[in-house]
């Protein structure tokens, strides 16, 4: 089925199962420990050997010597792979450059390991030790002796800024005459923010169990997009893609980190082939920080100019970012194409190569970092204008893509509604606009707000649905559920489409043998995968109606299909044998014709300790617009998680770069701090619901990432309101405030 026209009324609109607060169908399995994660499959490979990576201890240079004699002789060791004996592997550069329309280009997800003496990043695998037990492999891995010669690495974004070049992946825009508009405006801010490297810090570390059977490879692996795992592994190993099957039935979070493949899958697969025996490997927690991807750093200059009425006349957002050569960096300027009105716009991203670990996607890549800066700059502008920051955003709302013009309207932009309803629920009117005026005992109390946007992406996604003999339905798709609720909402979709209660639907996900699906990334998963299930169900409905001898408009409700006054139980239709339908939802150009995005508004009350400058969030209200809310429980969880992560980004998260060694120095969960329960008070989530008929027949948009978009800025703006200090270098921490706190005797 192709979605290339706005959706009309359809069976989803009945809203008997979809849109209802449904607890997770996989919940009981998870809380009872019966949902296996990648490392926990024992039955398929009772004889699995254990692999442990040895990772590079320098940031840039070469391996001079590598001595694995002791490791090889250590008890239980079966194999030690290094660049000297590893099988040949293939990287992106070994494949022809993809054309613009190439789907699934070869090598795009390849991740070759142990292919030479060159060290490109700290944490890169330099050896892989396989032994009978995990303990033996770990002990032997520590016996590998690696001698390096250090190269000169580029590890500082600030140092690379001057020579940065336009980022080919950024969506730069020059509209109108920015320079003149900015120069002549009565009110303006020119302000620079920086955001550090961030680590996804998901609960489940990356892990893989690799099993060969002849030339067929099966991976039990932790991945967000199954076919990227199979393609990446096959391309890297130089085997046909159809020879690799990946299973990611349950994934313990990803936040973008598991969009790529790493040493765990490639080295387990390579070693298993060589040994003729299954091999499993979990990346250790300290290794995750330097071996896997992270959110790259930014420096962002915001130049915003407005008339005295607050209407923006010039919007300038210039980002400097850095990553390994050829990578993307953090495209923090892009959302400023869409966020606010303004006739003159200068949106640019500049890139400088860095030899730090390779960057990648982390929840809302681009927006999460970009809005930290843009939404704080808007707060600065509101101060300059003497205007309420909510009103400033409302007067600059725009119902079309302001970079393209009125010819590209938003499909459904409810940012103003988010702002108004959020402000009302929070009690924004009680805010004191003058900083440092509200106190509660030893706490300086402040209110802050921000808005958020996250681009809506749709992806082709397929599902197979089967009406089984007993009248129940089986839903199968290679979609993943990374803790988000894909099992539940896809089951709800099938139940709604076929008029069945949810307990008559069984669902299987996360196996590449199932119909190729959207996967979980870029917030496209919920909307796209349920649209695929919708498409398959439409086909199944037709097949059911045909067998039941019904024609015309059919209604599927209460376990029956009816049309023209006749009603047949699905059980009876199924008695003649199962019926199966499989379809993929694909998309036309509605995302080009219409700007599509989810929106948010955040309101935060913060306390800053007048003595120590410790910062604690006291409460927070966020309002979200993401089209139809498919399931308010799972949607709310996404938002709560986004808010929590946004608070972390504002107040504590930072991968500390040690430029002498070219690595992230704080590589464990004690030193890379994310919020704990005590940091998160009551969080309130509001949904401004609507139906987005341009997005998909589900009329929903992405919600996984908009949750975090803008959150940190509301927190930082609240800190400003509490104590009058504007910290422009994230995270906002007490040592950056202390010197500005009230003087003490």
């Amino acid at each position: 089925m192709k979605f290339d026209q706005p959706a009309g009324a359809n069976p989803i609109d009945r809203g008997t199962v979809i849109g209802k607060p449904q607890v997770r169908v996989d919940g009981p399995l998870k809380v009872s420990g019966l949902a296996p994660y990648a490392y926990e499959y024992h039955d398929p490979a009772p004889n699995a050997a254990y692999g442990v990576m040895v990772t590079a201890g320098i940031g840039k240079g070469r391996i001079d010597t590598i001595d694995t004699v002791d490791a090889e002789r250590a008890p239980g060791v079966l194999l030690v792979l290094t660049h000297k004996n590893a099988p040949k592997m293939y990287g992106k550069a070994d494949f022809p450059k993809p054309g613009p329309t190439d789907k699934d280009p070869k090598g795009a997800h390849a991740a070759p390991q142990l292919q030479g003496a060159e060290i490109k990043q700290f944490g890169q695998a330099v050896a892989f030790v396989v032994a009978e037990t995990f303990e033996q492999a770990t002990a032997a891995a520590a016996m590998a002796r690696v001698g390096y010669s250090n190269g000169k690495g580029r590890f500082s974004l600030a140092a690379g800024k001057a020579s940065a070049q336009p980022d080919p992946k950024g969506k730069d825009a020059h509209v109108g005459d920015f320079a003149t508009a900015f120069a002549t405006a009565p009110i303006k801010v020119d302000t620079t923010y920086s955001t550090p490297n961030h680590a996804q810090s998901m609960m489940e570390p990356h892990a893989t169990l690799a099993i060969w059977s002849g030339d067929q490879l099966t991976l039990y692996t932790a991945h967000q997009v199954i076919h990227w795992s199979t393609q990446g592994t096959a391309d890297t190993l130089g085997i046909p893609r159809e020879k690799v099957r990946s299973i990611s039935a349950y994934v313990g979070g990803g936040f973008g980190s598991k969009l790529e493949i790493y040493g765990d899958s490639i080295l387990s697969a390579a070693a298993a082939r060589q040994l003729g025996r299954p091999v499993k490997c979990a990346i250790t927690r300290p290794q995750t920080y330097n071996h896997t991807t992270h959110r790259p750093p930014t420096i962002q200059q915001l130049r915003l100019a407005a008339g005295r009425d607050g209407r923006l006349t010039a919007v300038g957002h210039l980002t400097w970012t850095g990553d390994q050569e050829g990578e993307r960096g953090e495209l923090a300027s892009d959302q400023s194409r869409l966020m606010y009105a303004g006739a003159n716009r200068l949106i640019e991203t500049r890139f400088t190569p860095l030899d730090l670990p390779k960057g990648g996607s982390m929840r809302a890549p681009g927006e999460a970092a970009g809005l930290l800066a843009l939404e704080c700059a808007m707060d600065e502008l509101a101060v300059e204008l003497g205007m309420d920051p909510v009103e400033l955003r409302i007067v600059n709302d725009v119902q079309y893509d302001p970079t393209v013009g009125p010819s590209r309207p938003f499909s459904d932009r409810k940012m103003v509604e988010c702002l108004r309803q959020g402000a009302e629920a929070f009690g924004w009117s009680r805010r004191h606009p003058t900083p440092a005026t509200l106190r509660d005992g030893r706490w300086l109390v402040g209110y802050g707000m921000s808005a958020g946007i996250r681009n809506n992406i749709v992806m082709p996604s397929g599902t197979r649905v089967t009406l089984r003999r007993d009248g129940t339905v089986l839903v199968e798709t290679a979609m993943t559920d990374i803790g988000t609720g894909s099992y539940t909402i896809n089951a709800q979709t099938a139940a709604e489409m076929l008029g069945l209660p949810l307990d008559k639907v069984t669902i299987r996900l996360g196996d590449s043998l199932l119909p190729k699906a959207a996967g979980s990334g870029g917030s496209w998963g919920a909307n796209s995968s349920t649209a695929g299930t919708y498409a398959a169900c439409m086909m199944l409905r037709a097949a059911i109606a045909e067998r039941a001898g019904l024609s015309g408009d059919t209604l599927f409700a209460d376990g029956h299909v009816s049309a023209g006054g006749k009603s047949v139980a699905l059980r009876h239709v199924a008695a003649a044998g199962p019926l199966t339908a499989e379809d993929t939802m694909s998309y036309g150009d509605l995302t080009k014709q219409f700007a599509q995005a989810s929106f948010a508004a955040h309101f935060c009350e913060i306390g800053v300790d007048r003595v120590t400058a410790e910062i604690r969030v006291r409460r927070m209200t966020s309002a979200y617009s993401a089209g139809r809310i498919l399931n308010p429980i799972t949607a709310r969880s996404q938002c709560l998680g986004g808010m929590t992560m946004g608070i972390g980004a504002a107040l504590m998260e930072e991968l500390v770069v040690d430029e002498r060694f070219g690595y992230f120095a704080n590589h464990d969960l004690a030193e890379y701090q994310v919020p704990v329960h005590a940091d998160i008070p009551a969080l309130e989530v509001l949904f401004v619901e609507s139906l987005d008929d341009k997005s998909s027949p589900m009329k929903a948009r992405g919600i996984g990432e908009v949750g975090i978009c803008g959150v940190g800025a509301a927190v930082a703006n609240a800190v400003y309101n509490a104590c009058g200090v504007r910290v422009r270098d994230f995270p906002v921490q007490l040592d950056k405030l202390l010197d500005h706190m009230p003087v003490m005797a």
């Binding site: 303990e135 410790e614 940091d679 921490q733 007490l734």
Partner: protein, 315 residues
């Protein structure tokens, strides 16, 4: 982690003998610090002597002179909850409850807590130079990431902080550490002498001798007065102190001890009679040698003291 052998002992002297008998042997109590260090191969014990079943060390009993003897195996949770501690040594309860998490405190023991090692990130990374981990290899923290590290009592060789909260309260209370040697001899070490400064030997952290086993920590008679423990950190729980201030304002005067700023719990008795926060701070920080990253700790010490003088006792 390296392979090790394991044995379980039931008497204190047997524990001391078992560790003395084998180079590379270590006691293991709650294991919350030692296991982490062993997994990362920062410590590579060849033999573990499990002391959890040593009889009688999990009790808190009164001493003849009106104090308390806290067995080495008393868990941090139980110590914090003990009604005598809560009543007479409230600063200790407060310090304990400000540390780690509930789960960790359920496992962590009194002796293990005193002996926990620094949280310096370079100490935790065997690919980096660290004089404490590998004598003579250098100190990566100097010129590196040192936001959490010490500002006083440091040396050229090492600027690591002692991370314990409990030990700060014990220092304030003039605790003594009771031990037994392999030959059965015992001694009681005043806590002020127990931890050593890095100097030229940062890998030596206490005055304990090979095999010397901690049996208890004793507290003298209660001080009375108002007890407080203020712990400053970036997140509200489950974080080590950037700076902490343990204080007692009692009939015998004021006492202050600090955590997070030194290689050991930091108390400067000579500062305590001073009449102003600034004067106390000047003494406490007399030989401070901060880095650019952790200079803010000096400000924090001053502000905590100022607040303490202003409000009587921090909350």
């Amino acid at each position: 982690m390296r392979a090790f052998t394991y044995e379980r002992v039931t008497t204190a002297q047997a524990a001391a003998q078992a560790v003395a008998a084998q180079p590379g042997a270590k006691f293991i109590a709650g294991g919350t610090n030692l296991l982490d260090l062993a997994k990362l191969e920062i410590e590579t014990p060849t033999h573990l002597v499990d002391v959890n079943r040593v009889a009688g060390l999990d009790r808190i009993v009164p001493t003849p002179d009106g104090g308390l003897r806290i067995g080495a195996l008393v868990r941090n949770t139980d110590l914090a909850a003990d009604h005598r501690v809560r009543t007479d040594y409230a600063v200790l309860t407060r310090a304990l409850l400000a540390g780690a998490s509930g789960q960790l405190r359920n496992k962590a023991t009194t002796a293990g807590n005193l002996l926990q090692r620094t949280r310096c990130v370079y100490f935790y990374d065997t690919s980096k130079p660290c004089n404490k981990r590998k004598p003579g290899s250098g100190c990566a923290a100097r010129g590196g990431y040192s936001r959490g590290l010490a500002v006083v009592g440091v040396s050229d060789q090492c600027i690591a902080q002692h991370p314990s909260d409990m030990a700060v309260a014990m220092r304030l209370l003039d605790a003594k550490v009771e031990t037994v040697m392999p030959d059965g001899a015992t001694r009681a070490i005043p806590i002020t002498d127990f931890h050593t400064l890095p100097g030229k030997t940062p890998w030596i952290e206490t005055v304990l001798r090979p095999g010397e086993f901690i049996t208890a920590v004793t507290l003298p008679r209660p001080l009375g007065g108002v007890h407080s423990y203020a712990k400053v950190r970036d997140r509200a729980s489950y974080a080590f102190a950037l700076v902490s201030l343990a204080a007692v304002d009692g009939p015998g005067g004021r006492r202050f001890a600090f955590g997070g700023i030194a290689p050991k719990p930091w108390r400067v008795e000579a500062a305590e009679p001073m009449g102003s926060a600034g004067a106390v701070a000047d003494h406490v920080l007399a030989e401070a040698a901060p880095t650019a990253d952790n200079r803010y700790k000096l400000t924090l010490v001053r502000r905590l003291l100022a607040d303490h003088f202003e409000t009587g006792a921090a909350a």
